[in-house]
Amino acid sequence: MNWISTQFSRHGRYINVTAVLIFSILFIFGPSIITEAIDRTILAGLYYPFYKIENFFKLMVSQVEANDQLRESLMILSLQLSEYEEIQRENIRLRDALGFTPPSGYHLLPAEVISVSGYKMSMSAIINQGINDSVFNDDPVINQDGLVGRISSTTPEYATVQLLTDPSNRVAARVASSREMGIVKYKVLIGMILDNFPLHGSITIGDTVISSGLGGIYPPGLILGYVTEINRDESETFCMVKLTPAVNFHSIDEVFVLKAKGEM
């Protein structure tokens, strides 16, 4: 033993170099089973934890990418959904309008409202039909609920509708049941009223008020609104009748321009 340790300390360098050379030659020419076993050991002992970490980060990155893609798809789908819902609503409105018949002697020119203006209450609207479509000033505009207003100005492509809610707009009207007449107008802060109605005229709450056709602009029989309040002051000549408009002016969308037959 002593001889071995003496030899090792004296020739340690050569012994180590020789050992390394022998191992290297063994790895080069030896059976692959040895190198494969060493390879597996190194991979499992040194590389495996880092592969796990790498895979974890790769998985995280791929999940973030997938998340972004899903979010984008969700946004596109929600946009499509809102588009479909709008189409569905339009479909319902058009189905309602389909069964709608114009007053006799008139035909309907469909139009779409493209903008509405007015302070607190819509007073005018622009529709996508104009002089090119034979739309002219004072043509009545209606929808399936009743009278919307009249054309106040036109361009070749578009026309402006003066709505019933414009305080300067007046419509000769009558109570549908009693045929007694008045003037429908819109007052700021009060709302739609039936003015110039006789103090002792026959009218009850819930009565329908329609156009009388006497003004020369609107045909008779178009629904204007429904009676909601009647104030009879004996000191006055006329009574004050409040109406609820038949048309919801906050949601006008598709309308029809009434054209007398033979005008187009």
Binding site: S24, T35, D39, F50
Partner: protein, 161 residues
């Protein structure tokens, strides 16, 4: 306990090969961390340690391709022992001499590894890949020596701001 630093060096080689290599390689020019570590060990440690660390580092480096075990092991162990003997015969007090040793150690080592892997276009790769990679590795070695000799310290970095 004396073996722990060497295990850490081997873990650094594995970590670098799996995760950091792609992050630190630009246009195919990367750090040869195995050569750098083997040469640093050879500069500071004994001949036997340099030889056996080169041997083990060669094994770790060639993990995944056991057919190259022998060639890698002999090349890396040779790098360790040649660096050790160069250090013994040269005056390596100067930082620049150590950097030159690393530069001229990494170049033939990388060339031999390229030859072992039998990759076509050796001449082209030597110019476009091995030389820039050796310079890149030397730069990392320079930073290492600056930190080891306390020329770069946290205190000095803090004083910059």
């Amino acid at each position: 306990m004396r073996i722990i630093p060497f295990i850490i060096y081997l873990l650094i080689i594995a970590l670098f090969k799996v995760i950091l290599q792609d992050l630190t390689t630009f246009y195919g020019i990367g750090i040869n961390i195995t050569a750098l570590l083997v040469m640093i060990v050879a500069i500071y440690k004994s001949e036997i340690i340099s030889l056996w660390f080169g041997f083990i580092a060669g094994l770790v480096l060639s993990a995944g391709s056991p057919q190259h075990f022998g060639a890698y092991v002999i090349t890396t162990a040779a790098l360790g022992i040649v660096t050790y003997h160069s250090r013994e015969r040269l005056n390596l007090d100067s930082l620049y001499s150590r950097l030159l040793l690393i530069l001229f150690g990494v170049i033939p080592y990388s060339a031999l590894i390229l030859l072992i892997n039998n990759i076509d276009g050796f001449g082209y790769l030597f110019i476009t890949n091995i030389l820039p990679s050796a310079i890149y590795t030397t730069l990392i070695g320079w930073i290492f020596f600056l930190i080891k000799e306390d020329r770069i310290t946290l205190f000095k970095i803090k004083s910059l701001f």
